[in-house]
Amino acid sequence: MVMQTSVLPPAFTEKADARGLLQWINAPERRGPLLVAPALATLFLINILPLLWSFGLSFFNYRANRQALPRFKGLENYADLLTDDRVWERFVTTGLIVSSSVALQLMIGFGLALLFAKNFPMRRLVLMLVLTPMMLSFVSVAIFFKLFYDPTLGILSWFVSLFTGESFALLSTPQGAILGIVVADAWMWSPFVMLLVLAGLVSVPGYLYEAAEIDRASAWTRFRTITFPYVKSLLLLALLFRTIETFKTFDLVFLITEGGPGSSTETIAIYAYRLGFQFFRTSEASALAYMILFVVIVLTSIYLYVVKRRNAAEEV
């Protein structure tokens, strides 16, 4: 009986029923669920439900521009995608952009952090200038770089023409297009890496450097035994975070090259977009989206694992 009253709402037979229900909802042991409920409901409606829908779609041959009743295909879509050379090509392209861009971001970001780790006059202001790119919209960044790379009025083309006498269209070759995207992405996101590494650098207690000074450690030893240990977990977080974000990159590439020339910069996200919204192969696009989702979930789990381990280490 006691168990029942605490789990089930009282029956609606008496006068004070409405108030009884309110009290039942407001009971202290239900405080957590009550506060969380609106958020979970919203998320279910706007995020989870669509995901389930598209998960279902990925087993059919549904096309959003046709009226025909979809036919169940089981795992066929997944099998087709996994054996499709075009899909693997897009994965390779994505991998290439992700790895080179993230590597570049990490290196530049680390260097920037070392530069800004110590104080100097007007440091905050200069830091602002460097941090601006990552707060910008992809659309603005795409515009900057389109103008920058433009063969007729871009500064890059003008600069190259000083040496070659000809205008230069970086984005017209596959390698050039990838390079152009990597540079834009690294410009936008290396400040992000800097911000994380900087947090690690300033968290190093000053007395450790003093101890190293007393112990007469060389600059390299100091870096290896003091600086790096404090930065490495944040560096790893930056790596994972940027990999996740770059892996799903759509906007920047879509706006700068639209995947071209040919399909040389077509990332997996753009390909999924094309499948879904240009070729209307909705089910296949859903299946591909789920493959992307799988990768992101794995990376996110690793990321959260590192976050947790780092927080635990900090509390000791």
Partner: protein, 288 residues
């Protein structure tokens, strides 16, 4: 000791010089766009690019007004896109903030069974590639007629901002000393009073930071807006992108003016949020 102090001084000057150069490089593209916004059409097309020119406000005028050959002035409707962007961002952020703050407080103070799993799923929905959600959302909106409506895009952005608000606000609540709240309980306050009178006032700065951050993320968002807004509900990023889609002559001056206007709130926010940037860009997972 004075000798080594002088050396320290020189190193600091060198560092400052390097930092200014780097800062210049990072800000150059932004600077260039702003510069271009003040150029006449001829100046904007000049080769080599002009650093010095007589500035004009024509481009800003052209963003909002068409002047026909007969001299009639008509609006371009661009102000509507700015209004849309602001309205949609503010509404969805407010909604997400209210719902998210309550949930964040619960996740921080009344852990549910499987608390970490909930939080993981919530963060995952934020980490999702937009393309994964957009296909079914697009279909759902088509079925329910929400496509192209304010309600649709606001709902979507609320869902998009909610995970961010929850993780950010949880990180702020986690930073508080729960003893203060316990003490208020000992003094006879109920849970709701504790939340409203004790906990919330302590995280007001965090709440503001979360709000402003979410506003900027929403203000900047492109792909959902591209696919789910109609001509009446179009936001600025989509409007900007549509002007560069074509292959023929982009009016760079006018485009730059529009981008410059679009950037103003972003600058203000970046400046105001400097101390919370780290937390913001990592969704509250990295605090220090």
């Amino acid at each position: 000791m004075s000798g080594s102090f002088r050396k320290h001084d020189q190193a600091s000057k060198l560092r400052a010089a390097c930092a200014w150069i780097v800062g210049g490089i990072y800000f150059a593209p932004v600077f260039w766009i702003i510069l271009t916004a003040f150029k006449t059409r001829a100046d904007a097309l000049a080769i080599p690019p002009k650093l010095f020119f007589s500035p004009t406000l024509d481009n800003f005028h052209a963003v909002f007004f068409n002047v026909s050959s007969t001299g009639d002035v008509t609006g371009t409707g661009v102000w509507l896109y700015f209004a849309n962007s602001a309205f949609i961002a503010i509404t969805s952020v407010l909604l997400a903030l209210v719902i998210g703050t309550l949930a964040a407080y619960a996740f921080s103070r009344y852990p549910l069974k499987g608390n970490d799993t909930y939080l993981f799923v919530i963060l995952t929905t934020r980490m999702l590639p937009p393309i994964v959600v957009i296909i079914p959302i697009f279909l759902m909106f088509r079925v329910t007629g929400l496509s192209g409506s304010y309600l649709g895009i606001i709902l979507l952005y609320t869902g998009f901002n909610l995970p961010f608000s929850i993780w950010m606000m949880k990180s702020f609540f986690d930073d508080l000393n729960p003893e203060v709240e316990d003490s208020a309980r000992m003094d006879g306050s109920g849970d709701w009073t504790v939340l409203g009178r004790i906990a919330l006032p302590q995280v007001l700065a965090g709440l503001a930071a979360t709000a402003v951050f979410a506003l900027i993320l929403t203000w900047n968002e492109f792909i959902f807006a591209l696919l789910l807004t109609g001509t009446e509900t179009r936001t600025v990023p989509v409007a900007i992108a549509s002007t560069i889609g074509g292959e023929i002559g982009v009016h760079w001056g006018k485009l730059s003016a529009m981008v410059s206007l679009f950037l103003i709130p972003v600058f203000i926010v970046t400046f105001a949020l400097q101390n919370q940037l780290l937390r913001g860009v990592t969704f509250g997972t990295v605090r220090k």
